[in-house]
Symmetry: C2
Subunit: 447 residues, 2 copies
């Protein structure tokens, strides 16, 4: 008898879990259920599609037919799973019952829209699916001014995409800095100044009060000020989709997402649930930096978790260890990246940090084409251990943040980083001593 594996969700986590399970068990019957119309695409690229860098067709890598033919995965789109009975291992999808041996739950998250008036008006959008993106594209045509609610990386990427499309753009952020929580205020100020230079307007430190309009969005109101706009895009953070997990009685963690073991197995009343694996935006992770839960709602995290869920659903034994969650965002000419914890998260967790900042270049000083690069590093003051890093540069931030992320993951002391870590050097791609070392050296002098 072949193993019957059901996967719920077609985001990066669900698709990866299904493909990995197939690779691990060529004989398994694998069925994937999704409410979505499109599968196997990256929602992260939506801002650039709106900018015209690439098209909707090209961002969908495969259709259901490809999965059926090439991977033997039965993908059922536009099919909502309404209930899961863990006792009998039966799920109900589109009115039909389906029996499974193993279940992968990857129900993802949805954009949190604050409970204010007017969010149901036409012209209110989120940035989550291709259809969300197409709706924005359609709406843009007749709109001169756009309000972006939330100055996280997606909000800022969207702000610039809208600016590139010739719109007037106002970003509204409840906190007093852009990219709150994960970027330190000094780097955030640099980033905001860059965007202001590109013509983006900011209203900071004030929550949105209402979306206003008769039949569609005409303005948004913040701090009593009415900001005229024909479109309001909410990029206010993602919350886990808990409908099915709650119905199944799975334990929800303190951060409002499904609590899982390192094998991506959920709990029910504190005990591991057999044959079920949960991955992607719907789970809360364990931090590699500080003991305790953290959210890691990144596309790259979804793929890592989906791989573990897929291996384990097929009977293997893979582990998903604690995360540092390195991230990178491209905002115009800038690449902004971070890993581990920021100063504000450190405060939240109650640890005291020391930091070091250095400014340098991405290439040797005398080699043309280099861009400024700012690196900030953070260490726990009591131990000197690196706990986070952030950078803004014009190029090559991704590999560099992975590098610093490895040091944070390994719990390397700031002094040890100086004596043990090395950087590759070639004049067209780096300074002889990478800016990160100067930042760590300054950090050490603060310890």
């Amino acid at each position: 008898m072949s193993l019957k594996i059901a996967v719920i969700g077609s985001g990066a986590a669900g698709m990866t879990a299904a493909s990995t399970a197939r690779r691990e068990d060529p004989g398994a019957e694998i069925v994937l259920f999704t409410e979505d119309e499109h599968i196997a695409y990256s929602p992260c690229v939506i801002p650039w599609v709106l900018e015209g860098r690439t098209g909707w067709e090209s961002i969908v890598m495969h259709d259901p037919e490809y999965y059926r033919q090439e991977r033997g995965i039965d993908v059922r789109t536009l099919t909502k799973v309404t209930s899961v009975d863990l006792g009998s291992c039966v799920l109900t999808a589109g009115g039909e019952d389906f029996t499974f041996d193993r279940l992968v739950l990857a129900t993802g998250g949805q954009v949190f829209i604050p409970p204010i008036p007017g969010t149901g008006l036409p012209g209110v959008h989120v940035v989550r699916t291709i259809n969300d993106g197409k709706a924005i594209e359609e709406g843009m045509a007749s709109v001169d001014d756009v309000a972006i609610i939330g100055a996280g990386v997606i909000g800022l990427e969207m702000a610039l995409a809208m600016k590139e499309a010739g719109k007037g753009v106002t970003v509204i952020e409840m906190m007093d800095q852009v990219v709150p929580r994960i970027l330190d205020p000094d780097l955030a100020a640099d980033l905001r100044a860059y965007l202001e230079g590109r013509g983006v307007r900011f209203v900071m430190g004030a929550p949105i009060q209402s979306v206003d309009g008769e039949r569609s969005v005409e303005s948004v109101t913040v701090s009593g000020e009415r900001i005229p706009c024909g479109m309001a895009v909410f990029s206010t953070g993602v919350r886990a989709n808990l409908e099915l997990p709650s119905q199944m009685g799975l334990d929800i963690g303190t951060l409002g997402a499904v609590r899982v073991s390192p094998g991506m197995r959920p709990y029910r009343n504190g005990r591991l649930v057999p044959n079920v694996f949960v991955c992607g935006d719907v789970v809360q992770c364990e931090s590699a930096v500080l003991p305790g839960p953290t959210m890691s709602q990144l596309g790259s995290s979804a793929v890592r978790q989906g791989r573990v869920a897929g291996i384990n659903a097929a009977g293997g034994n893979a582990m998903h260890e604690g995360v540092t969650s390195p991230w990178v965002s491209v905002i115009g000419e800038l690449q902004v990246a971070g890993t581990g914890i920021s100063s504000s998260l450190a405060g939240w967790y109650g640890i005291e940090v020391a930091s070091g900042v250095a400014h340098g270049l991405t290439r040797a000083r005398y080699y043309p084409g280099g861009t400024p690069m700012t690196v900030k590093v953070l260490a726990e003051r009591s131990t000197g251990r690196l706990v986070g890093a952030q950078m803004i540069s014009g190029e090559d931030a991704t590999g560099r943040i992975n590098w610093l992320s490895a040091a944070v993951l390994e719990g390397v002391g700031a002094k040890d980083f100086l004596s043990r870590y090395e950087n590759a050097y070639c004049p067209p791609t780096s300074m002889v001593r990478d800016v990160a070392f100067t930042a760590v050296e300054r950090l050490v002098s603060e310890l």
Copy 2:
């Protein structure tokens, strides 16, 4: 009484040692002796100056006057140190005696020219100093064809620079692959094919027999074939300058360079020499990958070592730990990078390795402008521990090789890399799952 610190050598190691000692001890008297005319520049950039990307003036960052004024370092150019008396702490430079409390020896290396006929002819060059580069530039004007002897990274960078300048270029390499020792044959074949596509000719697996000519270079002879050329550039590897170390009686290691402790202190008859510190191309390092000596003649290594020597010369206690020696070279549109040990070095050290290779892209598949990226990873077969990585891509290799270098340095197992390491993701800068993970996954399947 202020400390008198003498530094011999004005390369990256010597200059860094002097500047670091100054920062550590503002009161020290610091004198730096060098045979060179120019100081504080990067010889690594010479190929690009010859290509016209930048000028000789711009690559010299500071002159002796700057060091005197700004850093209180007395730099004596064109001044050869002919002897050092460790007993009396006196060195003789330019005929004058100079007493020191601490000595930093950074005498560097020189290009090894094989003992064949004709290497003294005008038209024979090496790529080491600005004056070497200027001599090549001057000679190029009247020359149509150039032979590059040695297909290491400097040889290949020079080959392309000469090609860009419109010359016919033949690269002659004794081994049967380009970038021998540090790059695996498969990646080396890709690199060579790229250069052949750019019009560079290769003569492989044959040592040069002679440089021929009446009054200047007219040809070189390899395997009995005469290859007409007006210039022969030797990029045949760097050997430590042992003249002074030998005269001082310092112990020379098995790799033909000065043996040093982690504090960059040399030995004499097996015992540490007080008050002397050695750094840069003249030393042999300890490998972080396998117990034993290794050479790390990189600009970035020189700076790291110079920092340690400078701190310790000023009375501090810094350490230079084992090295993985990450390197990167830019050859036309390609970035080639590596860290740790290659398959051929593994054979040399007598360990058996497994490897994994993956081909992918530097950006998301659907985002324009990405380039192919090949990543190869190596693990010790008996333990599964990562021991090396190599890559070829069109962008962003530097940070990524630093990242993999950290994993090698930390002795991470290939399986652990999959479960613990993470990559940052944004469509314009990476695939959602970095190519490195696919390479490691293939490696794991070989273990």
